[in-house]
């Protein structure tokens, strides 16, 4: 081996367990792209600050709750899903269009490992995002909740993972990055309108109320509302969190079926 070769060998990263190879690779790609990390972490903080400021002079009815105290925590059930969906769908689409996915399929890497690795890295980013968002809303913005901050962060994490899983699946139906971005309003729009942010579910027409009950963002928002109002977590909320976790697994599975090893 030449000196330069030995030099190169000594600079190769320490050996990761084989199952974590892809996680390490995706993390390295993110590290090489500080702007994306910045957008994921900082943008929700900026958006929520803007929202808080918009509500700052709204008069509070005597004995009532300031509107931002309800809306602020809800953002933890809305923004992570939205942002993670867009980041993952574009990243996965790039993997499909650049030919790297086809190459990966010729290696021993399993499709499930590939998708779970994306889930792990972006889920981790989702936790970082949710933690900072939670600290901002509960700290400087002075929103008080009856439950624990941990529960809020858990909800935000599951919410982010739903965005990741749907994003991975959506990339199968997009041919270009432009199309992938356009899927966001399709996926997020109806969920956002029906989740209870604009109109409480009980005031919606019955049909919409029923539809809303089937949407993951509604489950997340209902859970946040419960945690904000009650000290102990209700069984219904645990059930909704279970549903969120379940739909992540189901959609990761469907996404792995959406990338057949062999083309016809």
């Amino acid at each position: 081996m030449t000196t330069t070769a030995r030099h190169a060998a000594s600079r190769t990263r320490p050996h990761l367990p084989a199952a974590l190879t892809t996680t390490g690779r995706i993390a390295a790609q993110l590290r090489a792209d500080p702007r994306t990390i910045g957008i994921i972490i900082v943008m929700p903080l900026v958006l929520v600050s803007l929202l808080w400021y918009a509500f700052v002079d709204v008069p509070v009815p005597p004995g009532g709750r300031a509107p931002f105290d309800t809306i602020g925590p809800m953002m933890l059930a809305i923004l992570p899903m939205m942002l993670m969906f867009i980041v993952t769908s574009v990243t996965m689409l790039r993997e499909r269009t650049s030919g790297t996915l086809e190459r990966l399929l010729t290696t021993p890497l399993s499709r499930w490992n590939l998708l779970a690795s994306y889930g792990a890295v972006f889920g981790f980013l989702g936790v970082a995002q949710a933690t900072l968002l939670g600290l901002l809303v509960l700290g400087p913005m002075g929103v008080e909740i009856a439950g624990t901050a941990w529960m809020l962060i858990l909800i935000a994490l599951l919410d982010a993972l739903v965005g990741v899983a749907f994003g991975l699946l959506a990339s199968a139906f997009a041919r270009t990055e432009f199309q992938a971005v356009q899927f966001m309003p399709v996926f997020i729009g109806p969920q956002l309108f029906l989740c209870g942010l604009f109109v409480p579910k009980e005031h919606m027409p019955d049909v919409l109320g029923v539809v809303a009950d089937f949407l993951p963002m509604t489950w997340a928002v209902d859970s946040v509302v419960d945690v904000a109002a009650n000290e102990t977590v209700s069984g219904a909320t645990w059930g909704r969190l279970g549903l969120l976790a379940g739909i992540v697994v189901v959609f990761l599975f469907v996404a792995s079926r959406s990338m057949p090893r062999q083309s016809r």
Binding site: A5, A28, T106
Partner: protein, 244 residues
Amino acid sequence: MLNSTLVESAVSARALVVHRAGNEVLHGLEMDLAPGSVTGLLGPSGCGKTTLMRAMVGVQRITSGSLTVLGRPAADEALRRRVAYTSQTLSVYRDLSIRDNVAHFARLVGAGPDDVARTLDAVELTALAGRRVEILSGGQASRASLACALVGSPELLVLDEPTVGLDPLTRESLWEHFHALARQGTTLLVSSHVMDEATRCDSILLMREGHFLAHAPIDELQERTGAATPEDTFLTLIKQEVAA
């Protein structure tokens, strides 16, 4: 090299038919690749070279017939460690360094850091290994992609136009490397539409519209057709077929 008739073929196709998006692209191919040989897969673009290569590495479904790779049916899970492939698109991570790319594909097939260093040396990218692929020249980037296939010493290398856009010097050194690999027992199938590269190969598979026109060393084909250059040889062979 052992007498190839005594050794099982590295790749063999029998009556291989492949459809791509509903159209029959390969029409009953028959072929045998000797272990430790360099075979050139040549033919006009759109003739089915890439489809054949993708079928060999297991990412293209076979309609009928058989395709056996290293003693197993193509697409067998056990082959994923033993066969490597480069496609015509770069298929590396442009936002990662050359070294990170090669190390990534090395880990996927269970190869270590020494292997990464050796491979970078072989494609003459050691000095640039810390650079991101997106800032490399076309030739450097395609060598980076090649390195991702070479790492882990696969027994069969399927390379789709690996020398496109390379300067003559690099091309020369890559062909030398291919032959060095073949001497160690690696079987290589290399596609190209530059007919002059035929002289670099042990034998040539000439393809046209989904079937083979010839499978022989280029000298033999030149003799048979009486043509002066590889390019003329192919033109003659194709004209003969069209006339027949």
